[in-house]
């Protein structure tokens, strides 16, 4: 079957697949007109490509350096374009490998926190009554903890390490999604199309999963994307405090922490990972803003 533009944009699709792909293609066309969002998308795309192809792209070993010859070389040195750190390791290579850790943190937090938030929020909103009260008061309690402090407490209890940092961030990340999903659910639950589904004999689980969740999805996705920057910063913050990724892992926050001791004399050691965190956070924020414009269910074409 051909995948031409006409086929995708047909207003009389002949299969489920064509209808779905056509809808996705229209969203993409819409998204492409937003310059800033495309810029953010490119940054994220580059991050993904760097993470995937790290072993081929990195010019040097990210974990072992030569303490005799390559220690603290400034940027733009031949072969070490972003300089080297106090262990003689190439900063560019460490940044490239570090993108894997950053991406893993972001992806895992999104995969863990989003479904939990969606499930809690839609269930509370759909059933209302005491189910709503219990679930949302619990959400409020978790929401009342300062994010970084709670993550710190968890990591302190579970022991430092990137896996525990991911779990800790996920635990603090889901409540806003639950609130958002609940608010969306409240606007949908009394609509006629939900009533019509009830009149077909559908179970509550079916209504929540197949009818309410898809409508909450877009605003939650936007929110998650916008939160990515915060998640990266929290992970970097934990790394900086020595509670996230452990040396010699090339985690960007930990790299800043390593460079802080000699920030004045060898500025690039802390600055380069700082720039990387800044760029990626910016990329996710721009992407999130663009997605909000495209996916907003309230916006009528």
């Amino acid at each position: 079957m051909s995948m031409t533009r006409e086929w995708l944009l047909s207003d009389q699709p002949v299969s489920r697949r064509q209808a779905r792909l056509g809808q996705a293609y229209r969203t993409w066309l819409d998204f492409r007109t937003n310059g800033l969002a495309m810029f953010g998308f490119l940054i994220v795309l580059v991050l993904v490509l760097l993470a995937v192809f790290a072993p081929w792209l990195a010019p040097h070993d990210p974990l072992v350096g030569d303490l005799n010859t390559t220690r603290l070389l400034p940027p733009l040195t031949e072969g070490y374009w972003l300089g080297t750190d106090d262990q003689g390791r190439d900063i560019l290579s460490r940044l490239i490998y570090g993108s894997r850790i950053t991406l893993a943190v972001v992806a895992l937090v999104a995969v863990i926190a989003t479904p939990v938030g969606l499930l809690v929020g839609t269930t509370a909103g759909y059933f209302g009554g005491w189910v709503d009260t219990v679930l949302m008061r619990f959400t409020d309690i978790v929401l009342a903890f300062p994010k970084l402090i709670l993550a710190l407490a968890f990591v302190a209890a579970l022991g430092p390490g990137i896996e525990n940092a991911i779990i800790a961030i996920s635990i603090t990340a889901w409540p806003p999604y639950a609130r958002l999903a609940r608010a969306e659910t409240l606007t949908i639950r009394n609509s006629d199309f939900i009533a019509a589904t009830k009149l077909q004999g559908a179970s509550s689980a079916r209504i929540i999963w197949k009818h309410i969740v898809p409508l909450c999805m877009s605003s939650v996705i936007v929110r998650v994307t916008l939160d990515m920057a915060g998640i990266i910063l929290t992970a970097a913050g934990l790394g900086f405090l020595g509670l996230g990724a452990q040396p010699p892992q090339p985690e960007w926050g930990a790299m800043i922490a390593g460079g802080r001791n000699f920030l004045v004399d060898y500025w690039w050691v802390a600055t380069m990972p700082g720039l990387a965190i800044f760029t990626v956070s910016l990329g996710f924020n721009l992407l999130g803003d663009g997605l909000r414009d495209v996916l907003d269910p309230k916006r009528q074409k």
Binding site: F193, A195, A196, G201, K210, L215
Partner: protein, 253 residues
């Protein structure tokens, strides 16, 4: 066939109570088309919603073939009784294709030959196969209402509850949808209970009707009564007069 006896519906908001329906009774015969008319807020739509379990019944009985309808409603009940909503823009899920709108009731109720049934349902409401994989936002209001009718009929119910099925549509489309409903009733021997504030629509569609005011049934009329303006209560006379068009009351003779 469907019998409503002294039905009461009370909505509770905290300590506040709204008695939307305060004792309405009527009987609908097999194959009949029965109308419920009244002004906005008279509780006529609430009666339909109470029958199919969307509004809380606080008193009275609803029976189907002499048997009390179970509460909460069972899937088997929904195979016999289906409803078409007023606003076709609100009654279709914005992210579901027509195909999934029509296949969902089939999969919930465990029907076989789904592809055939969907194709047949689309043909019956006068939409071709070309509409099957479209999204609701690619359809007009009249087309959406046809899909809503197809969705209700795909479970092959005996009774169809129609909640002002044409009031959200243009005058020209209204006639199309009403003719469609008429034709489907004749072909399938359906029983209709139709709510409307439009007396012309009711007198076109229904053999008998009940007039409601403030949650109470005021009087029951036949189509002949309605056409010859034979009403017994003041309220019904006022309603008939209002439907004839606006006239200046203090017009000098």
């Amino acid at each position: 066939m469907l019998s409503v006896d002294n039905l009461e519906v009370t909505f509770a908001f905290g300590t506040d109570e709204v008695r939307a329906v305060r004792g309405v009774s009527f009987n609908v015969q097999q194959g009949e088309s029965y109308g419920i008319v009244g002004e906005s807020g008279s509780g006529k739509s609430t009666v339909l919603r109470a029958i199919c379990g969307l509004a809380p019944v606080s008193g009275g009985r609803v029976t189907l073939d002499g048997v009390d309808i179970p509460a909460p409603r069972t899937p088997d009940f929904y195979r016999r009784v289906q409803m078409v909503f007023q606003d076709p823009y609100a009654s279709l899920h914005p992210r579901h294709t027509i195909d999934s709108v029509l296949s969902e009731p089939l999969s919930i109720q465990g029907f076989d030959r789904r592809d055939e049934r969907i194709a047949q349902a689309l043909e019956e409401v006068g939409l071709g196969q070309g509409f099957r994989f479209r999204y609701p936002h690619q359809l007009s209001g009249g087309q959406r209402q046809r899909i809503a009718v197809a969705r209700a009929l795909i479970l092959e119910p005996q009774i169809l509850l129609l909640d002002e099925p044409t009031s959200a549509l243009d005058a020209s489309i209204q006639a199309e949808v009403l003719n469609l409903l008429d034709r489907l009733r004749a072909e399938r021997g359906l029983t209709y209970v139709m709510v409307s504030h439009d007396l012309a629509v009711i007198s076109h569609m229904c053999e008998r009707l009940v007039v409601m005011e403030h949650g109470l049934a005021v009087e029951e009329l036949t189509r002949a009564d309605l056409r010859s303006h034979r009403a017994e209560t003041d309220y019904t006379r006022k309603l008939l007069k209002a439907s004839a068009g606006y006239t200046r009351e203090d017009e000098p003779a």
